[in-house]
Structures are given as C-alpha cells and as structure tokens.
Symmetry: C2
Subunit: 432 residues, 2 copies
C-alpha cells in the first residue's frame, strides 16, 4: 500500500480518481450480443452459453428436481445462517415500508403518494470466482416485501450445467419464481427483451463483470430500468489511535480479496496505526486462499495520513466510498458528518462483512463515487411511488384562480380552460 502523508487539497482529485476503462470495444461486443438475443431469443442464449461458458443446455430454466437436489447439498449450518441473514434483511427492509399520508394542501385539495410494486423484476447473480448467494438474499428479500408479482433470476451455470446449490437454495427460500442458467450480457438481454423461456422484466438488479455492467447500461435505452450504475467494489476505513490494527487489516483484506481491481483506502490520523496495520496485513494475507488477488489489489491501494479528523472526514466525503468503516473513538458523532457514502459501519465491532451478509442492511451499493448522488438498493428500488390527487368542488374553487393565472402566463390556454369549464359548471349549479 502506498502511504501518502498530509496530501494538499489540490491533490485530492487525483487520489480519489477511480480507474477508468476504455469501453469502446466492450460497447460494441455487448451491443452485438444484445442485438442477437433480441432477434433470436432462446436459440441465441443457448449458442452464446455454449460459446462463452462452454456448456450445452437443453433447458435454460432450473428444474424442480434441481432445486430439490440443491437443497440436499446445503449443510444445516449454512441453512441456519441463511435463515438468520434472511430474517435480519427482512426486518430492516420491512422498516422501509412507507405509509400513505394524505395531505390537504388547500381546503378541498387532497394529495397522497402510494408505493406500488414494480410488477416484474429480474435479478442477476454472478458466479465467477465466488458463488454470491448472499446477493440473492439482498435482492429477493426486498422484492418480496414490495410484493413484486414476478421475480426471476439469471445466473451462469458451471461446467456441469449446474448453479451453485446455496444460490438455488437462497432463491427458493426467498420465493424467486424462476431461475435461468444464463450469464453475462446475454442474461441481461434475455430479461430486458424477453425470449421464449425468459419473461421480459421492467427492472434489472444485480452486480456483474464489465459485460454485465455494460449490458445493463445499454438496455436502459430500451426503457428497462436498472438498480444503479456499477464499478469495482470499494472500502474506506477511517482509523484513529483507538482502532485495532488487526481489525483494520482484516477489513481492508476483505475488500481486497474481491478482485484485483478492488479499491481499498485507509485514512488515519495515527502513524502508529499505519505501521501496525501494515504489519498485520503482511501476517494475515498469507492465511488467505485468495491472497494473490488480495496482493494485487493492495498494490493499487492507499494509506492516507491527515493530522486531524476534520480533514479526514472532508476527504472521505469527497471520495464517497461504497463502504465506509469508522474505526474511531467518536464513531457515532463522526457518522453524523458523513454526507457521501453507500453504507457506513460505525465503531470497531462493525465490520463490513456483517453488512455484506447478515446484519440486515443491503450490500448492493453505489461504487465509483456514485454515492454522491445514488442510494444503495432498498425497498424503494422495487416500487414506484405513484402520486394521487383528488379535488372536491370546493378544492377547485379555492385553487382555480391560481391555476388559471399560471396557465395563462405560460401561454397554455387549454390548461386554463380545464379549470374554467369546471368553475363554470359549479357556478351554473350554484345558480340553479
């Protein structure tokens, strides 16, 4: 890790810059895949799956037998853990249910807003170096709380044509309606356009490699919504002298092991923490099966020293990290000053992996600085909030003149007339 002492503000922009990828070749390839899926449907999906994943599939959908088989292969211990995680995620996301509040803005003018489930949603679950069954919980649980009518899922199969058993089991306990063995850009195309086997959905969720990410970006052109733009995963740890170097090191490593492009940053006000954390990193990294990935990620990672926490917080708000761990004495006080982050972990015992799996918060979060304008996935992501209004005759009488004046000033006379004809009718009735 590169250690940077007291960087000037003029240097911050360079330090917080995320890696950019030249997307032009990628764009073209993904566009071709999407076009093919749109035109040829299932036969394109099967051909692309043979080409990219090296497997020949007769049926794209996971069968009932495969679900039963998967359930047998998941240990009781993992089942219990999944159930605990599912329950916590459910509790937290259920707290996001919004009640309908009726507001009478002017006497006789009633306005309200209602959350209505997005009818059809598609979840993408990658299966590269790690089977991400936790992401199934993170997406399917809020989809079910929202009461989405159709929840489908795509995930690539392995060389034997199977999806990881824990992934299938998680899908089952969360009530996912259908699972398809499709990966990559073709999976996103299938859910965006629909094929003979795969139903078309209105919104697509989930992480993925650069093909998946680019495909999600491209299908928005066709009116399909997506959860959020994506980039490599990130953690920033803020540590003062009360932090535990062993905890800090483990937290940095749990981000670093995700991929060689993981973004890992330690911001600290303590030189002692720097040396002790670096020593811990060296010790802990050797225990990891994925140490080669973690080492590469750490090579691009930074330790940044500031003299005071105020500047550190200012820097972190500029960075807008996906995950931010506050390993400082006054963690709760500092938490109130965080204005840009995906999810914040407050205090020494709040490790990122708690939120990744089981505490209840969602782990689908904005990376790449997007936390400045985007929220992570929540119950909100699975609903539309439709506004309603009802004007009584009294309401239109009270507000009519205001609307007429504004409509006229905007030169929109039919807008004015829509009020005038109603006021006229009421005058006639009043005169009867």
């Amino acid at each position: 890790m590169r250690v940077i002492f007291r960087p000037e503000k003029s240097e911050w922009e360079k330090i917080i810059a995320r890696p950019t990828i030249d997307a032009e070749v990628l764009e073209q390839r993904v566009a071709e895949i999407l076009h093919r899926v749109r035109r040829e449907g299932d036969s394109a999906l099967k051909a692309l799956t043979a080409q990219y994943d090296g497997i020949e599939l007769e049926n794209l959908a996971v069968s009932e037998e495969e679900f039963i088989e998967a359930e047998k292969q998941v240990t009781t211990e993992l089942k219990n853990s999944l159930e605990t995680a599912r329950r916590n995620i459910e509790k937290f996301h259920a707290s996001q249910v919004e009640e309908v509040k009726m507001v009478e803005t002017t006497k006789g003018v009633f306005c309200w807003r209602k959350s209505v489930p997005i009818e059809k949603v598609g979840l993408y679950i990658p299966a590269g170096s790690a089977p991400l069954f936790s992401t199934v919980l993170m997406l399917a649980v809020p989809a079910k709380i929202a009461s989405c009518k159709e929840v489908i899922m795509c995930s690539p199969a392995d060389k034997e044509g199977k999806i990881n058993p824990a992934t299938l089991y998680a899908a089952k306990i969360c009530g996912v309606d259908k699972v398809f063995k499709i990966g990559g850009a073709q999976a996103i195309g299938a859910m965006a356009f629909g094929t003979e086997s795969v139903p078309k959905v209105y919104k697509i969720f989930g992480p993925g490699n650069q093909f998946v990410t680019e495909a999600k970006r491209q299908v928005t052109k066709f009116g399909v919504a997506i959860d959020m733009p994506a980039g490599p995963s990130e953690v920033a740890v803020l540590a003062d002298e009360t932090a535990e170097p062993a905890f800090v090191a483990a937290d940095l490593l749990s981000q670093a092991e995700h991929g060689v492009d993981s973004q890992v940053i330690l911001v600290t006000t303590s030189e002692k923490i720097i040396s002790e954390t670096l020593a811990e990193l060296e010790k802990q990294i050797e225990k990891l099966p994925r140490r080669e990935i973690a080492k590469k990620a750490l090579e691009n990672s930074k330790v940044i020293f500031f003299d005071d926490l105020d500047t550190a917080v200012e820097f972190l708000n500029e960075y807008a990290s996906e995950h931010l761990i506050l390993a400082v004495e006054k963690a709760e006080e500092l938490a109130d000053r965080i204005i840009n982050a995906g999810s914040v972990f407050v205090g020494n015992y709040s490790c990122e992996s708690a939120g990744d799996y089981a505490s209840g918060t969602n782990h689908t979060l904005p990376t790449n600085g997007f936390a400045k304008a985007f929220s992570g996935v929540s119950l909100d992501s699975f609903v539309k909030k439709i506004t309603f209004q009802r004007l009584t005759p009294e309401g239109i009488c009270n507000l009519g003149k205001t609307i007429e004046t504004m409509a006229e000033a905007e030169g929109l006379h039919a807008h004015k007339m829509a009020v005038s004809v109603r006021l006229e009718k009421l005058r006639q009735e009043g005169g009867d």
Copy 2:
C-alpha cells in the same frame, strides 16, 4: 381522434406503443456538443449559444440587476399564484421527509437509514414555445426541502438575451443559487462537467427537447445522475357515463396543446361520452391560441371503447400513462387498482392542470411507459439514503457465526477473518 372499439388483447401492444425516434444522428451531434463543452468550457458555451440561439452573451450568469428587473415585470396576481403553488408543493413534498428509524435486527446489531441531501444539483428549464416557470417550482422546492447545498439552474435566453421574468422570479423565491443563460445539450454538458462559470453538479433534473434528453442520457456515462429518462408528455382519461364531456375534452386538449408529439388517450365505457367529447373537442379547440399544435397531436390520438371498467383498467395499467385522470363514478375505488401511472387524478374535479401547477404533487413524471418502473420526481430524488450499522461486542458475538459460515461458503476467507479477529479479541478480553 381515431376511435377503436373493443380491441383484442393481442392488439394492445400495438395500440400502446409510443413513437420511436431514430437517435443515431442525434446521438452523434449531442456527443460532439458535450465533448466541446467538456474541452473548451465557457468559450464553447458562448459559441454554441451564438450558433443555436443566435445571441452573443458576455456573461452566462444572470445578474442581480436582471433578477430585480424581472421581479418588477411579474404582476402581483401571478406573484400571488406562484406563492400559493409554492406553498402547496412545499406542503406535499415536506410530507415525504423520512424519519430515521433505528432497527435492532439481532440483539446488539443496530441498523438505520438516513436521508442526506445531494450536495450539488442542476435544474434545466426549457423555454421553447412556453416559459415553464412552473417547472422551477417543481424542482427547486424539493431541492430546498432536501437542503441541497448548491442549486443551480440553466435556461435558454430569448433573442434579447433575457430569461422570462416569471422563470427568474420563481427561481428567486425558491432560493436557486445561480441561474445561467444556457440552453440545449450544451447546458447539460456545462452542469455535468463544470466550466469556468458553471459549477459541476452531481445530478441533473428537468425536461427538454430531444437534444436535452439525449444529452442527459449521455452524461450518465460520466457518473452524473439524472432525474429520469424522458419522452413526449402523455395523458390518459378514463371516463364512464358519469363523466362530463366538456371536462374530458378540456383535459385532452391541455395535453394536446403541449406539442405535436403529445400522447392523448381517452378510454371509455360509454359511447355517449365518445360522441359528446368529440363534439366538445371541436368546439373548444377553436378557442385555443395553440390550436394548430393541438390539432396535430389529436390526429395521432385514440379513443378506446371497452365494455367494462375492469378491462379498461387492465389496458391502462399496460399503457402506464404519465398522467391518468379517472373521470368515473367510483373513482376512488378504481384508483386503488392503478398499478402503473405517473400521477393519478381522481374524480371529475381533479384536472391535470391542477397537478401541473398548484395542487402540490410534482409534475415531473415518467412518460413513455417508464411509469412501470420509475417514479416521478419527489423529495427522494434530491437525497441519497445512506445506511448505517453499529454492532456492539454483544452484536458481533450473536451474529458472528452466521457471517463466518456464509463467508466461508462463498469462499471469501478475509470476510470471515474480519469477524474471527473480533471474536478472538472478545474471547481474550473475556478471559482476562
């Protein structure tokens, strides 16, 4: 208007299809404009403004004197109307403030979510055939309730280099920090990238022509968020025999007068309403200054007759209209069955223009069928919802095993270790 009787479900897809535009030429031109603004800043903005709007501007920013001058030009009547509208919009959007709810998902595991304002937002206000000062209220009022730190606005100036006085006055009473005389794709580029005069923002809001819409789409590639994808404005009116043909006609016309590409649909269960509404349309349209626009829009519009309200509602949910007026006897009951719409107007006295201007609901709404997955602009649009969690030592002890089991099953050992080192520390302390 073309009248379609009892269309079969197989025909619905064709009936509800929105016009598509070939975007390739547009894409290229907008990309060039954005590139130029990004590279050359203010000088590009001035050159493009001279080229497209035919005006030479020395200063892009509206001066204090111009604001004072504008205020003088707005009539007291319009000022009062703007104030009434502003107050209602504020009341309704203030009701969307979300309280922080702390949830203890497992004993010692606390999760919460906090709405934090997006620091810098940019509003685009078009000024083509109509000065849309109402849109200033719709965007700036929730931005202020959210406490966005910097709220800027771009709007094209007229041939005299002036922005419509009511637009400027609305910006002033809503607390917009800075207004710039820039229109089109170049305005979107200015706010996305920042120039010498125009601050870079994190999210861009507002309607516009196809250049603006395409520019908003393109800047998302650079990490800038936008309110929502856009398309031509739409209204659908559902009318049974209790509807008032004069009201229905005026409502259809207030959509039709927006532009020749406006989408206007009447769905009804009453043949009498059809003939009477068509007669009213002919009568009312002649009174409109914008009748030529309205006539063209109506040529592409449809009246659809169904035998029963159930089928009508099913059709309207497929259509997913931006605005939906329920001019039926059991309007409130039917409102509960609407699952896809931007904003719903319940009952004969709830005209769209009430929501367009002054009732309090937002008029920036999803068009083009996007209402199936998108919400209109609300207070939510101006905040990120950051999640927080705090685990006490008891919390990590209670949840630790669950996290370890899941992390190991996903093959992410550093994730597991982040818990193990903490549990180990607590065991040591407990043993002390």
